[in-house]
Amino acid sequence: MRILLVEDDQTVRGFVAKGLKEAGHVVDQADNGKDGLFLAVSESFDTIILDRMLPGGIDGLHLLETIRAQNNRTPVLVLSALSQVDDRVAGLKAGGDDYLTKPFAFSELLARIEALGRRGKGETGPATRLVVADLEMDLLSRQVKRGGQKIDLQPREFRLLEYLMRHAGQVVTRTMLLEGVWDYHFDPQTNVIDVHVSRLRQKIDKPFPVALIHTIRNAGYMLRDE
């Protein structure tokens, strides 16, 4: 993916750029709002990582509103040191697609960026069937089969699996699951997500020789065909 990174803190920028390059992406960098805006409007990117507080007169939200006003639909992830829920809402309202507060774990950023990048590609319309290896999900009849064998899932387990399947081959963090599956935006203090994923594993992976749900250390989970 080609990613634009607009961030004024040199340490953070350097670290993020390095990590993204290691993950196989091409990164363009800007350390202020003006350069960032110039790059964003003059070239085309798959995703933009945008710090909210930027020097140079144009802050992140302003930049975002400007490119959205020009009908630029590039997915944008807003980074911010402001953690308050209202700020998050403001970031999303300005046209952001995702919001991450500082400090953040790089794995979280990478997972979210890759999820955004794929969303940006607009996938293949509203699918009615998801397939990963021998795991099939019918979204209309709400049935799940693995190796032709029907698996009974609770509604929430179904939603969890659907999320994982839609992001198959990508790292999905616990926060992403909490937000995407439960629509919760708070810190649950306990390992609630791990518990739910392990329950799902009991039904999806346990009876079969090959595991599809993998734990990615220090990051989250990934559903992948191996």
């Binding site: 308050q84 209202d86 507060t101």
Partner: protein, 534 residues
């Protein structure tokens, strides 16, 4: 016949009133600079800023307004006196001259020149006050009748009232005359000696000037009194606020006890100060706690890193140390975020995110999320179903608050225990209860449980930072409710945590949801007593 036309032009007068009032107001205008310069004090070096202060001073403005109003009314009053005395006399003289002339003209019409001369002589003789002046002259200038020695110089026009100095019987005097042309070149002069009136006018002018001076003095002292009254009233407030500005937050504005407007202002200010003091206390408590409780993990992370830098012998060892340090720092961030969140809630800023929501569905979802956790730990989470409870509140915050309670209940439960979750509607209140059969708390510690960073001795071995219940408490307050933590009692182990919230507000009150929440429940919204747990 020229006479009737002549008479038509007589009798317009009254210019003196204007002149008189001008003189008076000239005097008052002179008093203004006097007043302000007296108030502004001597123009010594450094007095400039003091003068600016005085111009901006509300008490001085009030005093000036008072003085100006006072003097304006005095001026109006004195002008009326002037108009009612001197003015009246002048108008009477005018009227008398006109009446005389009209009578004489009738004589002329009746009997011609001799009758007129006769009549003039008669009038001169019968004038007891000796103030009427007449003179009729022939075309050559010879006197035909009258009590004036000669036709006065300068009296030529017949449409003007002349003021003349005359000399009669060796006495100099002042007269007001009007001239009339008669047919055949004869001329008639009718007038009044106004000497007495001039004396009266002078007397009155002097009196009014003195009165004006006194009014000025009175106005000034009245202004000073008004100013000092005003100052005294704001001084209390000013003193208190000054003391507070210099750091003494214990000061309060003294009340006079009369319950007047100033008392009410003072009460409001005191109320505000109480709230500020409470917030400041919170800030102080938090900064102390931060110093205390964040130092520990930061120190730990630092030590790990330093230790690894000095002693690590392999890359794996180094990496492990770094990973643990990152985890420590993540813990610091989490504490930090929780603190900020609590502060944000306590400041009431989140009221804007309030919306209508349904409580029992919210609990269903949370029970589903935490039920799996309970199961995994060998516990049971039992949700008591309830009818829908619509309330007005902040969804993510309520979710977080209940999640914190469930987290505690599960964390402090004994193996095999059961946690109860339920909500009931109780009049205007919604009551969310989380009860467990866990280790419980000592009664003395219960009241401290929602303090920031408080963790009971028995909880030291469980993970946590002691901020969970502080957030619950803040959320309860934000929703105009209350958070209660109690032992289950009757020999049963464990705790009951109750979050009391205002049930759905009547739509009319939704409009004022932006109002700052008060941490003290309003007298008419006190929380009803707690029922026993399920």
């Amino acid at each position: 016949m020229a006479l009737p036309a002549l008479f038509g032009s007589g009798g317009r007068k009254g210019g003196n009133l204007g002149a008189g009032s001008q003189a008076i107001s000239g005097q008052t205008l002179a008093a203004h600079p006097h007043l302000s310069s007296a108030a502004a004090g001597p123009a010594s070096p450094g007095a400039r800023s003091r003068r600016n202060d005085l111009i901006r001073s509300a008490s001085l403005r009030l005093a000036l307004v008072y003085a100006v109003l006072f003097m304006l009314s005095a001026i109006v009053f004195m002008s009326f006196i002037w108009w009612a005395t001197v003015g009246l006399l002048e108008r009477e003289v005018d009227a008398a001259i006109v009446a005389d002339a009209r009578a004489l003209s009738e004589r002329w019409a009746d009997g011609g020149l001799p009758a007129l001369a006769d009549s003039i002589r008669q009038r001169v003789a019968s004038n007891v006050d000796d103030d009427a002046l007449y003179l009729m002259v022939a075309p050559g200038g010879a006197t035909i009748a009258g009590n004036l020695a000669a036709w006065p110089d300068g009296v030529t026009r017949s449409d003007v009232t002349y003021q003349l100095r005359i000399s009669r019987d060796g006495l100099r005097s002042l007269a007001e005359v009007e001239a009339f042309a008669l047919p055949g070149g004869f001329k008639l002069l009718v007038g009044r000696d106004v000497h007495a009136r001039v004396i009266l006018k002078r007397l009155l002018t002097d009196t009014l000037l003195w009165a004006m001076l006194m009014v000025g003095g009175l106005g000034l002292s009245g202004a000073l009194i008004v100013r000092s009254l005003f100052r005294r009233m704001v001084r209390n407030v000013a003193q208190t606020t000054r003391a507070i500005a210099s750091g003494d937050l214990t000061q309060r504005v003294p009340l006079s006890g009369s319950g007047d407007e100033f008392d009410r202002v003072a009460e409001t200010i005191n109320h505000m100060l109480d709230r500020i003091a409470r917030l400041m206390d919170g800030v102080r408590q938090v900064s102390n706690a931060i110093a205390h409780d964040l130092r520990t993990p930061i120190t730990r992370a630092r030590t790990r890193l330093e230790d690894a830098a000095l002693h690590a012998t392999s890359t794996e060892e180094m990496q492990a140390a770094i990973e643990r340090a990152v985890a420590d720092l993540d813990g610091v961030t989490a504490v930090f975020e929780a603190l900020l969140r609590i502060a944000e809630i306590e400041a009431g800023a989140r009221r804007s995110a309030f919306a209508e929501l349904e409580l029992s569905a919210l609990l269903d979802d949370l029970a589903e999320l935490y039920g799996a956790v309970a199961e995994e730990r060998g516990l049971t989470l039992e949700l008591t179903p309830s009818e829908p409870i619509p309330i007005f509140g902040d969804r993510p915050l309520l979710q977080q608050a209940v999640a914190n309670l469930l987290d505690n209940a599960l964390k402090f439960s004994r193996p095999g225990g059961t946690v109860f979750l339920g909500a009931v509607r109780d009049g205007g209140w919604a009551r969310i209860t989380v009860a467990d059969g866990g280790i419980g708390m000592a009664p003395a510690e219960l009241s401290r449980a929602s303090e920031r960073f408080f963790r009971a001795e028995s909880a030291r071995s469980t993970p946590g930072s002691g901020l969970g219940l502080s957030l619950v408490q803040a959320v309860a307050q934000l929703h105009g409710g209350q958070f209660l933590l109690e032992n289950r009692g009757e020999g049963a182990p464990g705790l009951v945590a109750t979050l009391v919230l205002k049930a759905e507000r009547p739509p009319a009150r939704i409009a004022d949801r932006m109002e700052a929440p008060s941490s003290v429940p309003h007298p008419d919204e006190t929380v009803p007593p707690l029922h026993s747990p399920p």
